[in-house]
Subunit: 249 residues, 2 copies
């Protein structure tokens, strides 16, 4: 992601035309004009609609494709990125086996309940303090091995009305796909913070390790269009046979 999220937006200033087009397209995506998985109009159509040249549309679309918001397919069209296809739920997963790749991801729901938002969560999600959160926990298996990660997910209840254990399990815990299909919430980016911590007794028991063992703690804030935070996550990862992979440039 090139765009900067949280923090002070560095004053819009005057934007070039292609960025205005990009913003327009983003707003149309937010509005639901085009849904995840659908094709958006062709470049020529968009150019006419916005009264700009095809090249200008192309540059706007190229940036959105670079941010994984749109997907371009030669000969077919440009599509709204979707979490609802095989392997899509792997794109935000940086935990991989030490040997080989993460191919299959399975999840088992531990519990799901409604809780009051603490000040930190409310602040990160932009909620009123004391608002309601949905808090769910789950265990992850990778390529049939596990449990590798214990995850705790916090969601604003207002945006996920009707979410309960039955719904979550119906989507086989493929969360971002579920957010998208059942609640119209499209996750497009996230920020993670990692620390090494000692396992507490409960977590250790659920991951099948000893209390005090070193675990990788992964905290995530996930964002939808426009950098709006929509999900908080905290995972504890057993890195005995897995690691967190990251590419730098």
């Amino acid at each position: 992601m090139k765009t900067s999220f949280a923090g002070l937006a560095p004053a819009p200033a005057f934007q070039p035309l292609y960025r205005q087009i990009k913003q327009l397209i983003t707003e149309l995506l937010e509005s639901g004009e085009w849904r995840p998985g659908e094709a958006i109009p062709s470049e020529i159509d968009l150019a006419q609609r916005f009264s700009v040249s095809q090249g200008t549309v192309r540059k706007a679309v190229a940036e959105l494709a670079g941010e994984n918001v749109l997907v371009r397919r030669q000969g077919r069209g440009t599509f709204v990125a979707s979490h609802s296809h095989a392997r899509a739920h792997l794109s935000f997963l940086h935990v991989t086996p030490d040997r080989g790749r993460a191919e299959r991801l399975e999840a088992r729901l531990v519990d799901l309940k409604r809780v009051r938002a603490d000040a930190t969560s409310a602040g990160l999600l932009g909620l009123d303090p004391g608002g309601t959160l949905i808090r769910l926990r789950r265990l992850l298996w990778i390529n049939g091995r596990g449990p590798v990660v214990l995850e705790e997910v916090r969601l604003p209840a207002s945006a996920f009305r009707g979410l309960d254990a039955t719904v979550a399990e119906a989507h086989r815990c493929m969360l971002y796909s579920m957010y998208e299909a059942a609640f119209g919430v499209k996750v497009v980016a996230a920020e993670e913070r990692l620390k090494a911590v000692a396992a507490d007794a409960d977590t250790a028991h659920m991951l099948g390790v000893c209390a005090g063992d070193a675990l990788l703690r992964i905290e995530r804030v996930a964002y939808t269009y426009g950098g709006k935070p929509v999900e908080l996550r905290r995972g504890f990862c057993n890195t005995r046979f897995h690691h967190y992979a990251n590419a730098l440039s």
Copy 2:
């Protein structure tokens, strides 16, 4: 980095013109025709030199700029990216304080010696097994706090002839800047693998923590132009007041 490094290069196939230009520019960078920090010729000059249009050069340069190999500055020109300026050595540092940003990085050399390459290191660096490595260790302070990280760096001795503790300290342990200035090795990308581990007695002592405490282990392979590996690193990070930050998209 969009380009895929290690592993099976997926067959070059026929490349569009702008990728051939990109490859040409990369080769000229490798050859040292333009050194880090210098300006490369203007787009118009390059277009004439390669007998293509300015737009084609522009697209090649844009990709290289996106990979942080080149830096474009409106009104001034296009420059070869360099680690030799303030804050440059922070661009590969994902460890940041829990509050605020990493602004100042200080390093203290612990030791530096020549060792035989083990099979794993030789394999990763593409050396003959039994080749010679330079192995150095150092401690990192961030914004005056620390030590936060204990790092062990392994380099192929053949590419870093003459590197000793005196040289390293003369460059104040700004390693990538030193590689570039003293040895002509330009690091352009890296891959990191993270695990949580228990501190051994030595490491704990150097980081001022207790043996057995959880530490974040960061392993890195750094690459120069063309995806050639040139450095191995293993860091142990005390995440009591710091974390590893990562943006997903």
